[in-house]
């Protein structure tokens, strides 16, 4: 299956990309995406542990399972306000 990954703020800068498609085996969860991103972008590896994740604009945990076409966002520590 294929999902869309969105990156923001420091993660986007370090990776040098704000959005990418990602092919995953059926049943893959958020933790699997984190591993894949670490391999693709070594420069963000150290930051991913501090990040939260959202599927289709809702916060989820590392065990959340992805579906074809999902939008998975990597959310570094927020600092609005």
């Amino acid at each position: 299956m294929r999902i869309r990954v969105k990156l923001f703020a420091i993660i986007k800068e370090r990776a040098g990309v704000d959005e990418l498609p990602l092919d995953l085996p059926a049943g893959a969860n958020v933790a699997a995406v984190e591993l894949a991103l670490k391999e693709m972008f070594p420069a963000i590896g150290g930051f991913l542990r501090q990040c939260a994740y959202a599927i289709n604009r809702e916060y989820v945990g590392a065990a959340a399972v992805l579906q074809e076409g999902d939008e998975l966002a990597v959310i570094p520590p927020v600092s609005g306000g």
């Binding site: 703020a9 959202a54 966002a73 570094p76 927020v78 600092s79």
Partner: protein
């Protein structure tokens, strides 16, 4: 039903215009919180010149709307406006405005405080400090 406005905006916040829809004969108090860019100096002795704001816009918009709806369940809110800036916010300019109209002041203060605290904790918005030498630092809250 509370009258609610929530926006992410690139344009500067016009405080008077933002407050216009909050005034209401059912309210005895309106609390307004403005978050503004504070001058800083970094470890290299450079002065802060601005903050650059970025958001996961689709998510942050629905978060602001959900925040307003939840606040309206918790307090007897008559009208509520939440505005947050995107892009560059110069020193002393507001990056966020929260205005809460309630029948009595205590609930207006409580609701306003809860909204800004929750927004800062949850909303998918980030700021980068922009220094006089052109360097930038993403802000990472503790």
């Amino acid at each position: 039903m509370a009258r609610i406005v929530t926006e992410l905006q690139n344009a500067p916040i016009d405080v008077a215009a933002a407050l216009a829809p909050v005034y209401d004969a059912a309210a005895g108090g309106v609390t307004v919180f403005l978050g503004t860019t504070r001058a800083e100096r970094n470890a290299n002795g450079r002065d802060l010149i601005a903050l650059d704001y970025e958001a996961y816009e689709e998510m942050a918009k629905s978060q602001l709307a959900a925040l307003a709806a939840e606040a309206s369940r918790r307090w007897p809110i008559v009208a509520l406006t939440i505005l947050h800036r995107l892009g560059r916010v110069a020193l002393a300019e507001p990056s966020v405005l929260i205005a809460v109209a309630c029948p009595h002041r205590a609930e207006a203060f409580d609701a306003c405080r809860w909204i800004i605290d929750t927004l800062k904790k949850d909303a998918a918005i980030w700021k980068k400090e922009v220094w006089a030498d052109g360097s930038g630092t993403w802000v990472h809250p503790q």
